[in-house]
């Protein structure tokens, strides 16, 4: 009998402080495994956001910096341009990346900054207590839209992959989910590819991960998993939105 899933070297061995059933832990494990398997752990610098995953600076077993809300890609830019030999990733939630940090998100993609962005989309603000996020679904209740998101008052949800798709600078964009084991395995492939692209200097990579927030959704973890399948995935279809291959083809075709 042999242990087949050792604690990933890319993750510090300590209990995670996230709520029961929260998707952050799954993505943390995936990133931690990728850092180990790609052999980049000792030259990686991670940027932790503001929000629940502010704790990421404790958890990832590499150099970490924690920055102001939404500014992750700008900080990552500064690190990457100063130390191009480092692998730099920014780990962000939906409030951080798609609300206050939207400008940094778009412009780092437009500059085709050679960084990797891990974007957790759970359609809610977790740490501050379940407020509406830019990705909150129409009709979804949140503590600042207690009657459900009404497009007349709160506008419409933002689809980040679709939005960034139009940017030439975005090299690799994929949306995945962690609501089932099979999807978690696919997410790992995507995250690995996003790091691989950076190793190969292919420019801006972003993986959007649909993730559960049972606390913010006021649901059990098992119902949260169902919520992703039934409600989130129709609005946020999984798949590759841009890839370096597509870009190379296009550029080749144009020339």
């Amino acid at each position: 009998m042999e242990l087949v899933n050792k604690w990933p070297a890319g993750l510090v061995e300590m209990p995670l402080r996230y709520c029961p059933g929260c998707g952050h832990g799954i993505v943390h494990r995936i990133v931690g495994e990728c850092l180990e398997e790609l052999g980049i752990r000792e030259r990686t610098v991670g940027v932790a956001p503001v929000g629940c995953s502010v704790f990421a600076d404790d958890y990832f077993n590499c150099d970490m910096i924690q920055g102001p809300h939404g500014r992750g890609p700008a900080i990552a830019t500064g690190i990457k341009r100063s130390k191009p030999e480092c692998i730099v990733f920014s780990y962000q939630g939906d409030g951080d990346l798609a609300s206050i940090g939207m400008a940094e998100t778009i412009h780092s993609a437009a500059r085709s900054e050679n960084i990797t962005v891990i974007f957790i989309n759970n359609a809610i603000y977790g740490m501050t207590g379940g407020q509406m996020a830019p990705t909150t679904l129409i009709g979804q209740k949140a503590s600042t839209c207690p009657r459900g998101r009404d497009p007349k008052v709160n506008g419409y949800p933002i689809r980040i992959c679709e939005l960034l798709q139009s940017l030439e600078g975005a090299s690799y964009l994929e949306r995945t989910s962690v609501h089932t084991a099979a999807n978690a395995i696919k997410t790992k492939k995507a995250v690995k590819r996003a790091f691989q692209n950076q190793i190969e200097c292919k420019g801006f990579s972003l993986v959007e991960v649909l993730s559960m927030c049972p606390t913010g959704w006021e649901a059990t973890p098992l119902n949260s998993v169902k919520y992703i399948a039934d409600k989130m995935m129709p609005l946020y279809p999984l798949g590759v939105y841009r890839s370096p291959e597509q870009r190379e083809q296009k550029e080749g075709g144009a020339a």
């Binding site: 009998m1 042999e2 242990l3 087949v4 899933n5 604690w7 993750l11 209990p15 995670l16 996230y18 709520c19 029961p20 059933g21 929260c22 998707g23 952050h24 832990g25 799954i26 494990r29 962690v178 089932t180 084991a181 099979a182 978690a184 395995i185 049972p214 059990t220 973890p221 098992l222 998993v225």
Partner: protein, 67 residues
């Protein structure tokens, strides 16, 4: 025979592993752990095939898979 071990110090009783197990051999304990949750446990050892899907979905890295 393959088996899993649940680290009670890490498990928060979210039950996601029970839904991931293709053989339905994981159940929740009826006793509080020291951290205040009802942890998962391998209820039927003989049926575990060591597929590791429970560990793939576990948000707390609480499941060790032995094969």
């Amino acid at each position: 025979m393959p088996e899993i071990k649940v680290n009670e110090r890490l498990c928060k009783g979210c039950e996601l592993c029970t839904s991931a197990c293709p053989k339905q051999c994981i159940a929740m304990s009826d006793k509080f752990s020291t951290t205040g949750y009802y942890p998962a446990m391998l209820a039927k050892q003989e049926c575990c095939i060591g597929c590791g899907l429970c560990a793939q979905i576990c948000p707390d890295l609480a499941i060790e898979v032995y094969k």
